[in-house]
Symmetry: C2
Subunit: 308 residues, 2 copies
Amino acid sequence: MSEEGARAFGGAGNLAHRVPDLGALELLLAVARLGSLGAAAREVGITQPAASSRIRSMERQLGVALVDRSPRGSRLTDAGALVTDWARRIVEAAEAFDAGAQALRDRRDSRLRVAASMTIAEYLLPGWLLALRAERPDTAVSLLAGNSAAVAQRLLSGEADLGFVEGVDVPHGLDSAVIAHDHLIVVTAPGHAWARRRRPLAASELASTPLILREKGSGTRQVLDAALGGLARPLIELSSTTAVKAAVVSGAGPAVLSELAVREELAMRRLVRVPVEGVALARDLRAVWPTGHRPTGPARGLLSLTRG
Amino acid sequence: MSEEGARAFGGAGNLAHRVPDLGALELLLAVARLGSLGAAAREVGITQPAASSRIRSMERQLGVALVDRSPRGSRLTDAGALVTDWARRIVEAAEAFDAGAQALRDRRDSRLRVAASMTIAEYLLPGWLLALRAERPDTAVSLLAGNSAAVAQRLLSGEADLGFVEGVDVPHGLDSAVIAHDHLIVVTAPGHAWARRRRPLAASELASTPLILREKGSGTRQVLDAALGGLARPLIELSSTTAVKAAVVSGAGPAVLSELAVREELAMRRLVRVPVEGVALARDLRAVWPTGHRPTGPARGLLSLTRG
DNA sequence: ATCGGGGCATAACCTGGGGTTATGAGCGAA
DNA sequence: TTCGCTCATAACCCCAGGTTATGCCCCGAT
């Protein structure tokens, strides 16, 4: 009955009851790759009966046969192949989570100490850390997230080896390299009138429409204000990107957000991008380090990963 | 010790031991949203002590304090906010998995029966199903995945209401609407010589280089052969997109793959896109239905979701 | 033909994580 | 004060998922 309640509210319901846990998904990927329950079991460090039962209960849970068992191996069924591909996305997200969490934990005595602004730490760093781990598995990385000023301070005080910031200005005392470009884009819920526009929105129209905004002082807000000439009209001000997204999705109004932050939502049509013209909403993402101290060693390794 | 083995091999190690399970992550998201352990507990349908202990053990596991508890509520710490954002990606992947799995399970007696080609079923459908569920929570959807011919057959025999195919030709007897464009792109491992090219690759160069390919007959292969004039030279032929990606990542050589299939890998720099010119590597993604039978009801709902 | 070994399943057992109820202890508002 | 909200602790329970021990099946090698 509390099931009903949860269901009725968010629509999310207890995912955990309907989706196999990470261990089971990893096991499934191993089976897919190795073609044998026993071999997969060995790889993930459990016994063959445990693997057998785990897969079986996953099939029960999903209501779909996943593997064809034969006396000389196991292959995925068609449905199994599909499920495995979907599972892989969960596992990849979990790997990124793990890489990030590990960096967050190892605050001290790491070989590479990174300081990054929130947007970069949220959306890009976990992927980079995974890539770095793949190349140099023994590099311990620590992560500190904060705004541009905090990043600069960490670098200058020697508490961090490499920094990442988004924004227009490079803090004093730091050298930088542009590693990517981020575009701020206008988004609305699919139901909003703007969602059906074909003609691009004019800057004046954007400036005169009340928007859902981050609080004054956030990087995103600064860029937007600058682009509009200091004029963005707030409909509401919220303190996190996530809150802004939630408000937009629920139809409260349009917002201007980083492309990075809404990639997922755009892909699954929870948000719609509104074309705009005549406004410079691009900003650089930069790696930064103390003037003169060119990154070396692991810092150089990470830096080179971040450039296409 | 088997831990060591797994570690040495894939580098993956037992993720499940280092990443909190889905239930814990959902709980964390609820805490973030509601600002109280008790409220979050109620939402996910457990008691307050259970939530308290769950969060605490998650903090132990990660080695990071996630929430600031006070007698009048709980707020995320800075690290907690970051972790929560990473967690959200896992949960979203899990939601997509769930939507897909549910559609796979409910083969019969669904209000909307969808047939889709593998690429679309893998990468796009789960997101659409989530969006559909958000709009019309009571629509039961079933999914059948197969190649274009199978999709056509299902539609014509009345076993499916709406189909999705990628490819150049629309099967006979079906009407279609283009819902998106997919680009095949050339990718290599970051270490490959092509990864550093600035000048686009010429078609002739691509045609004369041995590539990692899907087996003959796959949609991707067909488009590539057509674009090159029937010439793609195989270095190896593999039977799944996943296998091709793995081979490319490991440095075996370049491949031509759907943008959809490698979005993640590009984002985290496991693969690099190589610019190409003079080759038409675009293909349409189409919704299809039996000639005359314009989609209505839930099929129309899904169809409208898929168009930007 | 038969034996060995890889593959999977079943059975009986054990453990611990995560759930529950019951209770207590801060803190703020009425 | 006292209520009402927060979170924490304690004692208990259950079962999912692990283990070992075994058996069956099939194939290929002796």
